[in-house]
């Protein structure tokens, strides 16, 4: 579904990705872990087309097409989704109007019928149950005055509405209490199926108890320095990141 080959990128003069290779197939869950500043959030932002980052080399194929030839909105309509670590607030734009426009843009791109306001009402009521969100949030301004946890809940609601082929969830667990983490973890699991894939970007292994990864990749200095199965996450929980960094340095020496 997603093939990343020798991807390099920079922000300003700083190289932040220094050659990433990653293969993600349908049905798989990948965890990308690493210490702060390792480049793991950057990878997500580069994939969705954040304008601050410049791709300097390599290529990315998404469902067979060159990802970087698509505008960010076209990437989204093709099925790429990112749950942001810090979702922005937009005063005056109602949450439900935003969600409906996003849904209808995707429907239009796929040649499906748009939902009229009544159909939308039924559809969205169903979706908010999945994330156990109070319907009052639908009529509020997009993310405005939401707590950290409410914003994350809203991100997963958007994922449920758009049903992406590939979702990248950036630090979903930050700002969440244990109950919210459980609810959102279950929601994400239910949104997974053999045609879809998931990338979890996380600093802490805690969320991986909720959403079990098939593969774990450890990033440091803009490179993948270790790969393994979910047992690697357990090891990181027990031992931290330093030993992986040391091992990697030793390997390169």
């Amino acid at each position: 579904m997603l093939s990343i080959r020798h991807l390099t990128a920079r922000i300003g003069e700083t190289e932040v990705l220094r050659g990433i290779d990653l293969e993600i197939r349908a049905g798989e869950v990948h965890a990308i872990m690493g210490p702060n500043g390792s480049g793991k959030s950057t990878l997500g932002k580069v994939l969705v087309g954040h304008p601050a980052y410049e791709v300097t080399g390599g290529e990315v194929l998404f469902q067979g097409a060159n990802l970087f030839e698509l505008e960010p909105d076209a990437r989204a309509r093709a099925g790429l989704f990112m749950g942001f670590q810090h979702p922005i607030e937009v005063p005056g734009v109602s949450n439900t109007a935003f969600l409906r426009l996003a849904y209808n843009k995707k429907a239009e791109a796929e040649g499906r019928d748009e939902l009229d306001p009544l159909e939308w009402e039924d559809f969205i009521r169903e979706k908010i149950r999945l994330v156990e969100m109070d319907a009052a949030f639908l009529d509020r301004s997009l993310n405005e005055g939401f707590s950290g946890g409410e914003k994350k809940r809203n991100e997963i609601l958007q994922m449920a509405v758009l049903e992406p082929r590939l979702a990248i969830l950036d630090e979903l667990d930050s700002g969440l209490d244990i109950d919210a983490l459980r609810i959102l973890g279950e929601a994400v699991n239910r949104l997974m199926n053999p045609d879809r894939a998931l990338i979890l970007i996380t600093h802490f292994p805690r969320i991986l108890e909720m959403i079990q990864p098939d593969f774990v990749h450890v990033l440091n200095g803009g490179r993948i320095i270790k790969q393994g199965g979910k047992e690697l996450a357990h090891e990181l929980e027990a031992r931290g990141y330093d030993w992986v960094k040391d091992e990697s340095l030793a390997g390169r020496a």
Binding site: E71, D73, V90, P91, G92, F98, Q158
Partner: protein
Amino acid sequence: MSGLEGITSQEYKYGFVTEIDAESVAPGLDEGVIRLISAKKGEPEWLLEFRLKAYRHWLTLSEPAWANVHYERPDFQKIVYYSAPKPRKPQYGSMDEVDPELVRTFEKLGVPLHEREALAGVAVDVVFDSVSVTTTYKEKLGAVGIVFCSFSEAVREHPDLVKKYLGTVVPFSDNFYAALNSAVFTDGSFVFIPKGVQCPMDLSTYFRINNKESGQFERTLIVAEEGASVSYLEGCTAPQFDTNQLHAAVVELVALDDASIKYSTVQNWYAGDKDGKGGIFNFVTKRGLCRGRRSKISWTQVETGSAITWKYPSCVLAGEESVGEFYSVALTNHRQQADTGTKMVHLGRNTRSTIISKGISAGRSSNSYRGLVKVHPKAAGARNFSQCDSMLIGQACSAHTFPYIEVQNRSARVEHEATTSKIGEEQLLYFQQRGIPAEDAISMIINGFCKEVFRELPMEFAVEATKLLSLKLEGSVG
């Protein structure tokens, strides 16, 4: 295109010129020109006197320089002060006598002149350069005693009403442009709603500048007697020239006891090109006088055009418990400059005013809010709430807020809130990441930002305004 520079370059679609036989006087201004205008319009002596007094006063004034706008001062001797489409007869008896070219012009602008095709439920007065072309639904309104006609016609048919109210809200000595307008105004609209009458439909004036050298100096006077109410809409466009045209209008509103006047403007004059060449200089004096108790005057404006805007629709709240409102969206892009806002002058007891101002700046434009809230010693219990929000799109534009508050009564309550926000790349990316293209994203963010103002507009104007803002911003982000 990526980065915050590419959604603001949509062409101005009303920029065409109508080839029409026009009767114009030579450029320049002196007493002779004023006498000529007055004679052409067959005006009574008192009005000529009013003009001449204004002109002599104007000669003693100099152009105001305090506004936060920068431009080359117009040469007042190069302006044409009178230009009218040549009628086939001295006066239009019916629509069939109007030049078909003119009818087509307004059809292109979406303003049909024939009543059978006219906008449902809206009576329209159409002003082309210096004169009013036609007014629709006049008979229907006349049946309930409402006068809605061109200013010239009002001078002929209702001289006493005009004489009674002209200059009572904006005296000719008020400011430089008001003095100039008082000397040379050529046409405009006149509305009189008699005691107890609720105007059954929205009234509207459509202003069109066509002549390259002509200035437009229109005069609007709206009077609502005791218990009367009216909603009035104003729309404007101009052709695209690489020189600047001057528009210096005066609008006066008078509301007696329990009367209410709602005045809405969607201003889309030509704004000049991307580099700031051409465009309209919009120097307008608009003021409403709440003379009666419990009277109410509400200004709603959506300002999108003009190279330079200098405009402060204001309310003088003289009657006890009278209410003044100002709702404004001012959008500037490219090299446009706007200095706009309002004055709320509280004279009577328990008067209330609300100011909601939304400024949007894009490109290399400059957008200033300037507002005065003044509470006189006798205005016990006066209340004001002001909210001034600015939104910036891109890096090269600027927004400024100049609130002036003068309170001379201890029981008055004045609140002021202000915010500045930015449509940044992060915000845009968020929308795009959900599959929403940049243009739709901006329009959604802007509409959210302007919601409190748009909901004050009559329905068809609100739709128009939404479209207009999106159009004006196309290409500024992307």
